[in-house]
């Protein structure tokens, strides 16, 4: 199979060489992808005096781990991390719970107008967020929610995003219906069918949604920029941006703080790696 696939690139006699060449390119490309992160780690461990040294010292001659301790005390890093978590946890839970419920209805239930509603879900995926940005701000301002986390968290409990609904609905459609028909014959409610039949078979898709959503909310900048006004309530992205303005040239500390901020996402990525690569295939999400 793979030999034939290799043929797409080169004719059979040179197949081995074309494969070696493509292997080389792939490894070189992977190295290029890793390079910025390696540079980030390297910078974060250097004394500030060595940061600007050329040619580049990839392995610092003096390793300075204190950068990390200082980076988290130069700004209230852990406070901001906690704030980020206070936003991320309700958003991820709300997204998973409500998008699962909505997707289940679209995949399994019949009611007048459902097809029409689903067309709206698809349309909502295409809608650029800018169109609703300003009036949403005015709405939350009117509600007195500006300065709280509510504008960031509450929307997640209202369907959890059209994209996630679409993804989960597509996944639920691949689950055979026999079991939930049986459960309905036995008198189970839709809620219990969802929880006992559909959800246990859908963890791959649900973890895609949870992982994507966590990464998205953890890195979100525009939302907190609009709605978080008090410096004590800053999330990590806001804190880092603020830090950049104050300690403009302290690259080692800035890289240390940035790396720490990215760590949860990298962790989630490795935990949900399969889900991630599947999710991108399922959805093409950016």
């Amino acid at each position: 199979m793979s030999a034939v696939a290799a043929d797409v690139l080169g004719p059979r006699p040179t197949g081995r060489w074309s494969r070696r060449l493509s292997a080389l390119v792939i490894v070189a490309g992977a190295a290029a992808v890793l390079l910025p992160l390696a540079w980030m780690v390297s910078t974060s461990l250097k004394p500030e005096s060595q940061v600007f040294r050329t040619p580049i010292e990839w392995v610092p001659s003096t390793v300075r781990t204190e950068n990390y301790r200082e980076a988290v005390s130069l700004i209230p890093f852990w406070r901001y991390a906690l704030n980020s978590l206070l936003v991320a946890v309700p958003v991820v839970i709300g997204t998973v719970v409500t998008s699962t419920a909505v997707a289940f209805a679209f995949a399994r239930m019949r009611a007048p107008g459902m097809r029409w509603l689903f067309v709206l879900v698809i349309a909502a995926i295409m809608l650029p967020g800018e169109v609703t940005l300003v009036p949403s701000f005015l709405l939350f301002k009117e509600l007195g929610w500006v300065g709280t986390y509510l504008p960031l968290t509450v929307p997640a409990w209202l369907g959890g995003g059209a994209f996630n609904i679409f993804l989960l609905r597509q996944y639920f459609l691949t689950i055979p219906r026999e079991q939930d028909e049986l459960a309905r014959v036995e008198g189970h409610s839709f809620v219990s069918i969802l929880l006992r039949v559909v959800v246990p078979q859908s963890w791959p898709a649900i973890s895609v949604v949870a992982a994507f959503e966590f990464v998205h909310v953890w890195n979100d900048f525009l939302g907190p920029l609009l709605y978080v006004t008090d410096q004590d309530s800053y999330t990590l992205p806001l804190g880092l941006n603020f830090y950049k303005d104050i300690y403009n040239t302290q690259w080692a500390h800035l890289m240390a703080a940035s790396l720490l901020a990215l760590l949860p996402c990298i962790l989630v990525f490795f935990l949900a790696q399969r889900a991630f690569t599947q999710g991108i295939v399922l959805t093409g999400r950016r």
Partner: protein, 325 residues
Amino acid sequence: MTAANAPVSSEGAGIVGTGPSRRGRRRVPAARRETWAAYGFLSPWVIGFVGLTVGPMVASLVLSFTDYNLVDAGNTSWVGLGNYREALTEDRLVVQSLKVTTYYATLAVALDLFVGLILALLLNTGFRVIGAIRTIYYLPAAVSGVAVSLLWLWIFQPSSGLANALLDLVGLPAIDWVYSTTWVIPAFVLMSLWGVGRSAFIYLAILQRIPTNLYEAAAVDGAGPFTRFRRITLPLVTPAIFLNLVLGIIGNFQTFTQAFVISEGGPANASLFYTLYLYRNAFRYFRVGYAAALAWILFALLLVLTLVAFRSSRRWVYYEAEDLR
């Protein structure tokens, strides 16, 4: 499938209706109960869609015809198409931001489509270490936002950043990157190319579904590698190219965080992305009405681009009917 299930579910509903577990509940026809249950499940999304999408969209449209100001809301008056006229004929920064954004989006999308496809073809040659390699290529997708923008700001530092160090390594002169009106957009494109693994995986998923006997048959017929690529591989990946194209256009036109953190629109507005300019109008100059008009112009533009993409897709996107079943 649905037709075959229909009798089962109505029969099942009969049993449910008379079953002992239904303590004293009035018998409601199953279909009607299903309808209400469905609406119940859908209600969070419907509330959100009406309250946070449709409502704001209508409000945004209405606002775009006014001179609503965030700090002087009492003095709002109706200006008709005034905002649109100003944006499209008087405001040079709108033209500039559209130029910048289109330039960036075109380069970023084109490179993403091209490099992504090449990468997918290479990854599809089926060699061993793909598991680990796959992880590496997809890693940039897990990280984004301010922290990554700061990383690239450091990479693009003219005097001691990684980018110029690499240029120096191959004997090329240093570039001012994000501090140069010429290079700031290419710098952002380079940064976006870092995440090319994403689109490569969409292609890869399709490539791996192409049955090998198609290639075997073509080889028997004397088709060379280039012909096989052009006649088999390329047509079959066009749906993925199309998906990446549409999502790429929509996504790249909304570039904000990188521009805000790295270059703040500069130098000399050379990276004044459209969304950044919209944000400034709304939240720095408090010109909410004007910003709403800008949002609708963007929306109309994206709608037209998407429709053009969909229209043209009939000519170049190949949707397999029975070939691959």
